[in-house]
């Protein structure tokens, strides 16, 4: 609770809380608050300017832009949270295994992390999408792969730091089993930095997903991903600017909100991380 209060005092903190809360509420309540169905086509009213009927206008198929943006929040948050959940779990497990295993296993895992990070992240995502093909499930899977080393490295470093600390030695001497030691000491100690890292990665995941969808290599239309919407808006840019404008602004709202929230969390929960993250 005090963390929340501190957060709102930071510059941009209020905005971050507002943006993230708004996005979450909109995503949850999408079917209730959206004035139209996200895929309701109305060829008669295509590329309309904002009006009382369609607050933000309509796209090239006459679909209501506001409704599609509202459902787009679901896609963005759903995908980014799934990606974070998968890469966090896999990364933490691999990182801890790496830190506690014999040197050979450690080298292999660290080597895989190094190879994965020797690709610029968007290029790795593209290489993976070339193989797996587009689609919701594939996007979640391949973006997760891109982010596993992030979590893996932090988990490994923190585990090694704790592994070498005297109190773990003491527990081992007292005859505790390794896995018990891990559950009791390593997990609580890595949870803070991992949580902060997850928060800071969300805007990056949103960006990559939207980017792939924008290129037509992510979520398949007609599913309302902000990336798809931006692409539609880009295609009809010379006829109507509304879709491109509002989908772009939605993306900025989400990435900026989560980025500010991540930074605020880092500074309030764990100021020491400032340098490493």
């Amino acid at each position: 609770m005090t963390a929340l209060v501190d957060l709102s005092r930071r510059p941009g903190g209020t905005f971050a809380l507002f943006a993230v809360t708004l996005l979450c509420l909109v995503a949850i309540a999408a079917p209730v608050i959206a004035p139209y169905g996200p895929n309701a086509i109305a060829p008669a009213s295509r590329l309309m300017d904002p009006s009382l009927q369609h607050w933000l206008g309509t796209d090239h198929l006459g679909r209501d832009i506001l409704s599609r943006l509202i459902f787009g929040a679901r896609v963005a948050l759903g995908i980014s949270l799934s990606v974070i959940a998968i890469s966090l779990t896999a990364g933490v497990v691999l990182g801890i295994i790496s830190a506690l295993s014999p040197r050979a296993v450690d080298l292999v895992i660290v080597g895989i992390f190094d190879i994965v990070t020797s690709f610029p992240s968007i290029i790795l995502a593209l290489a993976l999408v070339a193989v797996l093909g587009p689609g919701l499930g594939n996007v979640v899977l391949l973006v997760s792969i891109v982010f596993i080393p992030h979590f893996g490295r932090v988990a490994r470093a923190q585990t090694i730091a704790i592994r070498n600390s005297p109190f773990i030695e003491a527990e081992k001497v007292l005859g505790a089993q390794t896995w018990r030691v891990i559950l009791h000491h390593v997990m609580p100690n890595i949870i803070g930095p991992i949580f902060v890292l997850a928060c800071m990665d969300i805007p990056v995941v949103i960006t990559i997903e939207a980017g792939l969808s924008f290129l037509g290599l992510g979520v398949r239309p007609p599913l309302a991903s902000w990336g798809n919407l931006l692409n539609d808006g880009y295609t009809y840019l010379d006829q109507s600017p509304w879709l491109a404008t509002f989908s772009g602004l939605s993306l900025i709202l989400a990435t900026l909100g989560f980025a500010l929230l991540g930074e605020a969390l880092r500074d309030t929960l764990d100021p020491k991380l400032r340098k490493t993250l």
Partner: protein, 325 residues
């Protein structure tokens, strides 16, 4: 600082870099095998004759084991062979080399822009930390960093090309006409540089503030050396070291990020080459293009590491004498 001699350090860096490149090649080749179904059938379509499928498999190297394929890839690499375009048989190397200058020009101009704008912003921030200017720059920086470059691209296109008609909409300009090419470069450069302006401003600001709190700066202040000289000369040089390392990484990220700018502004380049190849499932071109980007990414990281050592006199002395401490 570092205990090993700089040459050993660099040799180690080079070795890990090469290993990473080799690893990424194996990963790339292995990925192609993960394609559900038979890649050749996927490429040629279900109506292809079995002979055509077998011929294509042999050409891509899918009829051999992964290890054989990787060795063959490296073997051909040394003779400058990156494989062939599956549709028209043109050498991938030629395609990549033709696309590279456009992308490199875009990445370099974006990086230069980011440095030219980011460094003064960092200096301004660090001059009066916590002040109005600093807070404004901090806010703008986070905004620039977190806004996806393709959103910036679309917005720039919308405002400056479609509405105001100040800049050309598409293409890279007439070849041979340098002014036209530069004119076409403005918007994509702005889109790519925006995030890095913010990133450099923030990163350099924090290392400047760290250096400004060190005792050697206090010495200069005690002798009445002007704040401007302290900031721009004595604090900037040590503070720039961490930023140089990030710039090396950033150049590679820019090569990747160029894919959006190239697709949106319809510029020929490495990014649009890979993008088109992915859509047409032209795997050798995807592999070749991604391989070149990974190579450049690793290479620029290495160069950044080296230039960091050249800026720091303590490291430079060791590089010249070759002795460890």
């Amino acid at each position: 600082m570092r205990s090993a001699s700089l040459q050993i350090h660099l040799a180690f860096k080079l070795a890990t870099a090469l290993l990473a490149v080799a690893g990424s090649v194996v990963l790339l080749l292995a990925l192609t095998r993960l394609i559900p179904g038979d890649p050749a059938t996927v490429i040629l379509g279900s109506r292809a004759t079995p002979e055509a499928v077998a011929a294509l498999n042999a050409r891509i190297g899918l009829d051999r084991s992964l290890v054989e394929q990787a060795f063959a890839f490296f073997g051909r690499l040394f003779s400058g062979d990156l494989g062939e375009d599956v549709f028209n048989g043109r050498p991938v190397l030629n395609l990549v080399l033709a696309a590279l200058p456009n992308t490199a020009a875009l990445a370099i101009s974006a990086m230069v822009t980011a440095v030219v704008l980011g460094v003064p912003l960092a200096l301004l921030s660090a001059r009066w930390p916590g002040g109005k200017v600093d807070r404004l720059i901090a806010f703008l920086s986070v905004g620039f960093i977190s806004t996806p470059s393709f959103v910036v691209s679309v917005f720039l296109l919308m405002v400056f090309s479609v509405t105001l008609r100040w800049f050309p909409v598409l293409g890279a300009g007439e070849s041979g006409d340098l002014a036209d090419q530069l004119w076409h470069l403005v918007l994509p450069t702005a889109a790519l540089a925006a995030g890095w302006v913010g990133y450099i401003a923030r990163l350099l600001r924090s290392s400047l503030l760290e250096v400004l709190s060190e005792s050697h700066i206090r010495t200069l202040r005690a002798y009445g050396v002007s704040e401007a000289k302290i900031l721009m000369k004595y604090a900037l040089k040590p503070a720039v070291l961490p930023t140089v390392a990030v710039l090396g990484m950033g150049f590679g990220e820019l090569l990747g990020g160029a894919v959006f700018a190239e697709v949106i502004f319809n510029r020929p380049g490495l990014g649009s080459l890979i993008y088109d190849a992915i859509r047409t499932r032209n795997y050798p071109v995807v592999q070749g293009g991604v391989f070149i980007i990974v190579l450049l990414y690793v290479l620029t990281n290495l160069i950044a590491d080296l230039s960091q050592s050249l800026i720091d006199p303590r490291e430079r002395a060791r590089l010249v004498s070759g002795r460890g401490q």
